[in-house]
Amino acid sequence: MNITRRDALRTTGALGTLVSLGLITTEQAMAAESRPAFASKTLSGALEAIGGQPATSDQIEVIAPDIAENGAVVPVATVSKLPNTSDVWFLVEKNPQPMAAHFAFPNGTTAEVKTRVKMGKTSDVIVVAKADGKLYMAKKETKVTLGGCGG
């Protein structure tokens, strides 16, 4: 988490220079993906950006459908039973940029969250949890069916 924030700040600084030089507009600078974990095109790169390869854990529950009728909206959720879980990340391995979302839980917030992500095709949905500063992960496969009829 800290690493991500620091890197983000550093990159923002560089973009700021480009803006001041008039090479890019403020809006482009805002819109450009400056967060390494989100910008990474590979799973290993995204994991590297959040602190390295996590250990597998059966204490993380990944809730995702076996089959998603439409990859544009795939309901996903996770519950971490690891004590002192401070963060969770959702990644979709086969997406062009695997990192989908990061959630940070301050003390008093249950390590449980539900959202919806896009999936380009059938893939593992991976949840990484950080507990006591260490990374753990679990995964589940969701099949994305072809949609569509005439037209």
Binding site: M30, A72, A101, H102, T109, T110, E112, K114, T115
Partner: protein, 103 residues
């Protein structure tokens, strides 16, 4: 300024469950328009939830979160009549803050 969020916050057994729907196109940056020009990414970057001014959840999102995003989570404490505040900021600097009363 985005459109209003739909926030529901319910307290039970010393815990408050929050469910939020946000109105945002969450354009992924992979698609092309009718003329073949790429449609630039436009998505929520950060979400922050506060209860009584204290942050109870923060999130970083990329373009892979679905259009009109949905988010549900829960935190310890929170009483009926108190408020929960949700804020989002997108990659073009647009933002939106809404509050809801805990029921």
């Amino acid at each position: 300024m985005g459109n209003p969020m739909r926030i529901r916050a319910k307290s039970a057994n010393g815990e408050t469950t929050v469910r939020v729907l946000m109105s945002h196109r969450m354009e992924g940056g992979q698609r092309k328009d009718a003329n073949g020009k790429p449609i630039p990414a436009h998505h929520i970057n950060t979400v922050t939830a506060k209860h009584n001014g204290k942050v109870v959840l923060s999130a970083d999102w990329g373009p892979a979160v679905s259009q009109n995003p949905y988010l549900a989570f829960s935190f310890k404490g929170g009483a009926k009549g108190e408020t929960v505040e949700i804020n989002w900021v997108d990659n073009k600097g647009d933002s939106r803050t809404d509050t809801a009363t805990i029921s």
